[in-house]
Symmetry: D2
Subunit: 450 residues, 4 copies
């Protein structure tokens, strides 16, 4: 096969030498990912973060391809020596390419409203005989579908392959950090990918990193910290996501109400969305859905006779996020003081307020008892022994196990309006604003004139 | 007003100091541009070229802002001295921000099918009293709508402002070359923007560039040449655009047919598209349309009972572009030989073939008699005189007035299939392929074994 | 004056609008900085770190110029309001440009051997009437020499100016981190300079940073940490620096010995170095010295009749660094075991071994009692109050006050040679190597076969 | 052998896997290149262009290594098939590493004054038994010295290897264009190296480039054009080079004069320079010379009793270049008018004026009759045939065979001084300046007031 290259600004070029990969990219299921944004609503804050899951999936593939090329220099010689099994290359590359196949539009929100699970869909699409992806895999190797699905499920028996797809430094994260940084313009997300790959060494049951590359691993940890703190947890995109959640909630409520009343609902949602609203979406129906399916419905709902749905749709399309304040365990009880004020100002708190937590850890040790236990990062010493990352870096040691992020309370921007004489609600707004200082919820704060 | 900044990977940050600009960005009409891709279908070839007209519009604004800041050092002292009129800053910045406001989804194709004109819509939206953009402009200065609309129409009396928005080096092109290069990964599109701005000097009726910056201007000319040659004229995205054009053609035909037959067409297109299919779209209706409006209809048409519409929709969504060959005046007459072969292979040539020309000039002199006369680029000499660019650069001289690009003929990829025994159409394909060599249409070519 | 620009890859362009600056750059004293490497011997490890103090000095000037432009938006309105005094611009820019004027070749080593002080020389050159720099300053403003010298001495009464030249985030550090990163290829040294400047706000007695820019300040702190850990403290360049120190020590010893014996020393060192060897260098003589003065003498000493001097010169020129191991308070006492082994192997420990400590703190609070008290970094809150950096960033909090770096013991690489039969010293090397494990000094280590 | 990596900002990392390469880098002869600037005096214009021949040599090695890795995919299967001979890898890499070994300090000027030849010295060092480089090569393969020397001499029988070291696109040029661009900040020198390598295909007697990569090859051609036009031909660094040439001329004249008069010249030049001044330098003596040898002598000559030598040394060290004007065949005869004016102003035209031509061609066809015939660039077509570059690119076609550059006349900057009353020479300067307009020599020009 003649090599095929895709230009990609994150990796310069994405190289495809295996015809199987090219055929997978050309399937209907994979092409659908072009029409699903990687970061959902984040482009309402980082206006250029408009890239798709298609780009990210190609990127994870390319990272894995480079890793596989590198690991071939450390191929296993005798069973159990911890060397790389070169025959796992294809499983690794295919799993990397397909790992996000089951994502729906605005995945986070979508799954909570329509009770779907993208990891489950990914595995189902790979295993289901009617899908092109499955058929292409079978054409090349009948064992591939089951193997690839088990990598996605983290149950595959080669732990190196699993670690390269899901761990604290894996191909998925490395691509998304670099890609989201590139597209959002958040330059702190960058680190030296070529160098990290160069430092990788296969070890029994995992992947370690050469000690001499400490600075590069530190850079990756810090990049990840900063991308979460600055981009993924951004309060304004969370404020738009709350609007999206509430408008889909409202649409679901209306749908179920109309069904109960046996009103014809032909024109309320486009046909492709109906199975979702009935919690009975098949794989085939699921694969018809993309961002446009949701967006076009919101476009149409702008003219809905239901005022709440129409108003929330307008807020979403015209980018009017809910505002928010940080809450702490100490200040949470003040919410009971401000909620009535929001009601009093005329807002239904069910649709116009929300609480939302976002927390993460920059790096953590392996805690086998944890629900989602993280595999720790091991540094390979000159004498061949392994040392856990935080024992080797004073920077990482300082961060290990510390959680960061915040809990926020969302409410209409109107509550923060400056009071103008003649506005009936002015006294309510004024009362509300007494609870807010430097973006956080506080007790009644004796404001000085500034 | 506290300055507001938007992170932007092309310009690092976009700075807004004028509250008028911020209010314009927050209008419904401007926010719509988030949902329209800058490059239409180009992301089917450059998979990461997924950026929106919103990003580009902010970018053109930022370039103009930097230019305005720079030009203030060369402010007019006495009327007619060719200096910069500092009071034109706002007109320049607003025109830059709003210049693409009237674009529809997949603009090129859209305009040819639905007979709309984006420049006309841009001016109308700015001048129309019911639009938020108009209202915001009026709030700040009642003369702004007319002034800004006339800059877009190139009839504004300050020729420097017009040149900065539309000329061979203007803020629009400078942003789109850099942005399209950044998002597509086509690195040859880059040039030194900060330096070009630094070289700008206002002169009577236009903008000149300091002679010492010749290399930077050359770089810009070459970048533009390469972006057209490599990205904008790419045969594969033209092959997808042909599919899109043909499927909308087909939908229009069906729509008109159903109307004639007085069949109810409620479910054939979503309600927001109907005015388009009836050639009677109002500004208000136009502003409801975005990429999702078109895409979701194509999603639904995939299941159309009309086989042609369903099949073309599938080709578009699953990325099956028409293939193409280059044609020259000498070889065009061979088309009459190969068209019947395509028909014979079972394709309706109306929907499955097309001719398409793309030509451009890297740089041209001012030809006042030309339909769209280009203003030439002038280099400011140390003694204050002007010299036209190509007289100063042996590189540009070599390119001036030379057109490049090509004419292509598009047809189904099936025609290039390798012949497998048992395929009924094999002899037809074989006959067709005799007319094709190294991607170009030729006379019957005596193929050697290679 | 027509603006003059210097191309500079770190800042793209360095802009000079003040003729005073241009005249200072053209002085003999400033041009000398072209011939002095910024990082001394570091290019023996980072082979491309070959940039000069001239480039760095222009860079610090440019950073200051951008800061001054930015601060003008926050000009003082009434005395004591903490605003920027726009009339300090020139003092700031000149101090930035000239701050390193008194550096000698291989400054660190040079000062310890020849007992000079570059900060003292910087101030003297500025204040001394016979120097071109002084004369140029006087031509423009007779108070400038004293003002600029007091900024260098940190005694100037405008504390904002002092902070911009010497503090935990100053123009000097910002340029050298970016520049050293650019030239060494150590990419972890980068941070967003334009953004940091944009975040600066003048406050009473100093400079604060807007709270919203936390991520950028964090990035700067981490960059600084990594540049020290990875570049400035690199054990191999310290191993070359030890060779340089010892060879100059040896030359000094020989010089003094010859003087004592009243032997003619005309040809032992070139004439420009003699005042140094006699501890009596005048400003005028000092300004004749550059890297070539030292290097050419080492070139000539390669053929010295003194074997130690010749051998060390060869090691320096041909890059044969001393090797090193890390020592801790716990392991230091083992040095008494290994020193005799080095002697036994035939090396004079005075010239072939050394101890060397390098420690730093990524960020520290203000400790007024400390010898070199650091001014802490203050973040400006939305309500105008100041908050010390580590109270606002969990990342910085984790690093505050923690020191990092190490103490090392240097010795000839020969001691680590693999033992070959027939080598007389093999048993000595073998004994020595028992004290070394993973690059650190240890007690006798029971080595397992690996 | 464990892989050794060197950080390098141009190639990110330089990878060494062959112990031979590492031993060659560690030789005395190769380490000397650290002390010789790649671009001689160019840093007097591009102040950051301070990189060494050592860095460039490592870079050419790395480019060759990447090429060799790539070409292995196109290994020769049968003799004469045009495939890559994998066993040539070592010869290619060693020739790349060592190709500049024989350069002296300020090579251009040096060779013209001291009548040496760096290509001859490169070959001699490789072939001479007493050199470390030779000894290391012999240790690995006794045929290597002769093979590598013949690659340098372009007589090696594998024409692919020769083309990769010396042709219109070779590893040497690709590294120096990128490196000089990186270090000078002249961004127009960049092109996509990884892509160019990826496009390379071995063909009988040379290297071709895949047709699909046309844009990348065009970019390279333009980069090369711009680096010559903007950097290498810069009139100001030529103005410093003229000073260096004239001061070494003067030193030579004094040296020969003193020899004739049998005056002792012990202190006139440092001992290492004497063989040069006697035109009798041995390889061993040559290898003692570096930039410091020349620079330190100029430092000392600043205090020479010969006024011309002292004054030119001061001009060189303190960067006072000669100024210049462009001359054309039409205007050259005016030189006879202005030379006497320079004499009249008190300057010895022998030391204070010069003519200097710099011309180049961006790309040229193969002209077998030419003195230094260039191998043309061939593009590999999809059907396997070759097509010469300019037949495939309208951009290159426009440039092919066109020469650019200029001839200049150099003279003291004083001649351009503004006339101040009381200056005795004012009328002479005024007369001189009548011959100069926009940086070019002209006939008497009727100057209008501007």
């Amino acid at each position: 096969m003649r090599e095929k290259v895709f230009r990609d600004p994150v990796h310069n070029f994405i190289h495809v030498n295996d015809p199987l990969i090219l055929e997978l990219i050309d399937t209907r299921e994979f092409q659908r990912l072009r029409r699903i944004k990687q970061l959902g609503v984040a482009n309402t804050v980082f206006h250029t973060a408009e890239h798709s899951r298609f780009s990210h999936s190609l990127g994870v593939y390319e990272v894995s391809r480079q890793i596989a090329n590198h690991l071939e220099r450390f191929a296993s010689q005798t069973p159990g020596d911890g060397g790389w099994q070169v025959e796992e290359r294809r499983v690794l590359l295919v799993a990397a390419l397909l790992h996000d196949l089951g994502h729906g539009p605005y995945s986070h929100t979508f799954e909570s409203i329509f009770k779907t699970n993208h990891e489950k869909f990914t595995q189902d699409i790979i295993l289901n005989k009617t899908n092109e992806v499955h058929q292409v895999l079978m054409k090349y190797d009948e064992k591939l579908p089951a193997k690839v699905a088990s990598v996605i499920a983290k149950t595959y028996d080669n732990k190196q392959v699993v670690a390269l797809i899901s761990s604290q430094i894996d191909a998925d994260r490395m691509d998304y950090l670099l890609r989201d940084a590139y597209y959002s313009g958040a330059t702190y997300g960058t680190f030296d990918l070529a160098r990290i790959i160069h430092l990788m060494r296969p070890v029994v049951d995992g992947i370690a990193f050469e000690q001499k590359g400490m600075a590069t691993v530190e850079d990756y940890i810090i990049s990840r910290y900063q991308m979460y703190e600055q981009v993924y947890f951004h309060p304004v995109s969370r404020g738009i996501e709350v609007v999206l959640t509430h408008l889909l909630d409202r649409a679901m409520e209306l749908y179920q109400d109309q069904q109960k009343k046996q009103i014809s609902i032909d024109n309320f949602v486009t046909p492709d969305l109906k199975p979702l609203f009935e919690y009975s979406v098949s794989i085939e129906q699921y694969l018809d859905l993309d961002d446009a399916s949701i967006l076009e419905n919101i476009n149409l709902w702008r003219h809905s006779s239901d005022k709440v749905l129409a108003e929330l749709s307008m807020r979403f399309l015209d980018r009017k996020p809910l505002k928010s304040i940080e809450i702490s365990p100490k200040t949470r009880h003040y919410l009971s003081k401000i909620r009535p004020l929001i009601e009093e100002a005329g807002f239904n708190v069910k649709y116009y307020t929300a609480e939302n937590d976002s927390f993460d850890t920059a790096y953590d040790l392996y805690h086998p008892e944890a629900k989602h236990a993280k595999t720790q990062i091991e540094m390979l010493q000159p004498d061949g022994s392994l040392a856990e990352l935080s024992t080797q870096s004073s920077l990482v040691k300082a961060l290990t196990g510390r959680s960061y992020g915040n809990a926020r309370y969302f409410f209409p921007a109107e509550m923060l309006m400056e009071q103008t004489t003649g506005d009936l609600m002015a006294p309510v707004y004024q009362e509300f604003q007494k609870y807010v200082h430097n973006g956080a919820l506080i007790g009644i704060y004796p404001r000085n004139s500034d």
